[in-house]
Amino acid sequence: MSKSITLDQPDERNLLDRMAQGTIGKPRNRLEGPDKVSGVATYAAEFPASNAANGVLVTATISKGEVVSIDEGSVMDMPGVLAVISDQRMIARPAQGGAGEAPVQQVRQVDYWGQPVAVVVAESFEQARDAARRLKITYNADDAGELVLNPEDAKVWEEAPDTETVQQGALPQAMAEAAHAIDATYTTEGHNSAPMEPHAALAEWDGTKLTVHASLQMLNYNIDELADSLGLDAENVHLLSPYVGGGFGSKLGISPDVAAASVAAMQLGRPVRVVLSRQQVFHSVIRRTETTQRLRLAADSDGRLQGFGHEAKVTNLPEEEFAEPVTQASAFLYPGQDRVLKVEMARIHRMTAGSVRAPGEAVGMQALEAAMDELAEKSGIGPVELRLRNIPERHPSDDIPYSSRRLAECLKAGAEAFGWDDDDRRPAQRREGEWWIGTGMATAARIHNIAKAEASVTLMEDGTAVVATDMTDIGTGTYTVLGQIAGEMLGLDPADVLVRLGDSNLATGPGSGGSWGASSSGSAVQIACEAIREELCDMLGCKDEDLTLKDGFAIHSNRRQSLPELLNGRNIEKLGKLEPGDTEDDFSQASYGAFFTEVAVNAHTGETRVRRMSGAFGIGRVLNEKTAKSQCMGGMVWCIGSALTESMMFDRRDGHLVNHDLAEYHVPVNRDVPHLNVIMVEERDPAASPLQAKGVGELGICGGAGAICNAIYNACGVRLRSFPMTPDKLIAELPDI
């Protein structure tokens, strides 16, 4: 029934390249595409439920303290209002990615502005919204002395729980002796995931079993988070997320809407829908922490790094374990035996800090790559050449080899496609009218992980196949790539593979997070297909090497038989299981790439426009060239936001988020983004997964903002060490023209 592989050794078999269907890697259109463009694809809030009531969350207007009273009488007489609920089973914070248990639940104990404190339920959304606005709540605000709202006011900095501190050799000495040294401090501001679909849940309770349509990335963990919050058995919770309108980390764990809708449905005995407002997406879910990062680079006269330091400061709420792992790529990307890596965290009262797309590298790489540009300038070595000279043989701290790494190829391919000039890097040399023009580049790097995954594949008697797993497709292309993997292995057009996702009753996968989804769940699909092939071989009395499956036919020893004929009325169902193994520890595994960009900086206003951007990426096997490129493009758009506009702004007096909507928190719009040129560098990584594929969903955001920062310097000679590089910061420094 099932087949299992533990990745203790690199999987050198390269099964997919031995197959005959020729669909893997091809730029196929998404299988679910027609449903999405026609408005037929159904997202969480959109499932029909007769008699559904609607809940609207009420959120705290203080940053710390307690709810003294909630005056239900202030709204219960309003038309349609059914209930005001402020229940200990609700959640005060979202669950962190992969938590698998309830987050902090005391909704009446306020720890941040915007924390959910109650939900108002009414017949209609309009009634609930109105009542939620009028609900009278009395708070006892705790603003005495101790309350720390801003990172700069924090006095206590603790070592981050999950990031390994590295203290190797003597960095100060290496800095003192270096031919070229950079000691620079960069800052980044808080970011919001801002998926276009606000978090939403529709809960139904039948007295025993809870069914929730929700917008979630990792159902396997979410089940336990919700069950634990509600005091239910996990078997009695059923989650459905067939379509997720973007997640970017903010839907890794259950969000307050999920618990509130569930509690309300259980209390009222009828379906309840709760959808977060856009403002609540900003102030009640997660933020990416702001960071302060000190980078120390000590190079010899050839530009080779002898010393390397990356120390970061981040924040989170009290009791949260998550600390942005800012130095994650710094641990393996560049050499330097004298080495310091450290992340420190302070507790402040802003909303929960958690995973926003590529936690760690997204902000760590942009600062590091900006500092590398400073080193390139100081040493007089071209930025690409400097990076080529600093590709370590072995992991600088763990002394293990790298799995496949195409960094040099990406640097060269990207430079060539862009038309990069590595020699003349003098700043402020080119002007077109009122615009300074410049170019910049950066390396991309993001760790690779896989996780335990199961997937079921059924070869149907009619010669089609069904893939089923609780894995999600959050825009990443999961439906399509799983269809292509099964199609390749079983000799079917992916159009003949039905892929079922986003249902917690299906085989358990890790979900979409940390770029691990496709390589984990995709490997499980491949393994299930191997088991099906084994059974077909038994039926035919042949070896797997001698079996060709193509276009719905089984071919061996010059015989060609259609699958329906061969199956003769039976289905073959197999469960594939992947377990991570020793390759995790035996190799340093990551996806790599390089960004190249050209910007124009307005000499009068300080406005920066990105005019060109290219990226070359090595992600192991490409499962679908079209969707993989789209993932990279999406990441590059985030780089533009992170470099130029995105910044959560808090009122320093009371801790409330000032720009809590899409008019004030500026994600890039169409006109901010030039044509993006993405190059996929051919690669197979046997240590990474049985598919020989690595993660792609986050790589495109890891470093590109640094390339833009470097291009701004090259354009106008202003080296800002403060992201985002908004006109107000630039204008003060601009040279006269």
Partner: protein, 166 residues
């Protein structure tokens, strides 16, 4: 009161606070039109009212007596896609798909606006015929946010439809 939605007459008797967006999504079951912000900041709710694009979250259903509303469901179906819908699929002009119906409705009206000679903020010569360069398309589509970052492909998709229509 009555209004026509995708060619079918619909009555509206509901709560006067109901936005056109919520009326479509809830009362008409037309959930193809998306709610991204409810404040006119994202474009996910774009529909056509008498052929012109509008943020349906910024208008009340009661304000549309006798208007003709076209939603994404009225443009095409999975089996019979509008050329814009097909081009978005071919060019991967989306990822999660949540902004997509709004993008496509917006693009439909935008092409018509350009056809009618409407200039935009980046049009150099206001008296010349509007030429839909990529820069023009980017400017004219900037009311539709896409957090997945599919913009480059969206411009390619629209450009292809524009060229095929020649």
């Amino acid at each position: 009161m009555k209004l026509a939605i995708n060619g079918t007459t619909q009555g509206f008797e509901g709560d006067p606070r109901t936005s056109l967006l919520d009326f479509l999504r809830r009362d008409c079951g037309l959930t193809g039109t998306k709610k991204g912000c409810d404040h006119g900041q994202c474009g996910a709710c774009t529909v056509l009212v008498n052929g012109q694009r509008i943020n349906s979250c910024l208008t009340l259903a009661v304000m549309h007596e006798d208007d003709e509303i076209t939603t994404i469901e009225g443009l095409g179906t999975p089996q019979d896609m509008h050329p814009l819908q097909a081009a978005f699929v071919d060019h991967d002009g989306y990822q999660c798909g949540y902004c997509t119906p709004g993008q496509i409705c917006s693009a439909k009206a935008m092409l018509d606006e350009a056809q009618a000679g409407w200039p935009s903020a980046v049009t150099g010569d206001l008296t010349a015929e509007a030429e839909l360069t990529p820069e023009e398309i980017r400017e004219r589509m900037s009311g539709n946010l896409c957090r997945c970052g599919a913009y480059s492909n969206i411009v390619d998709a629209i450009t292809q439809v524009k060229e095929d229509a020649r």
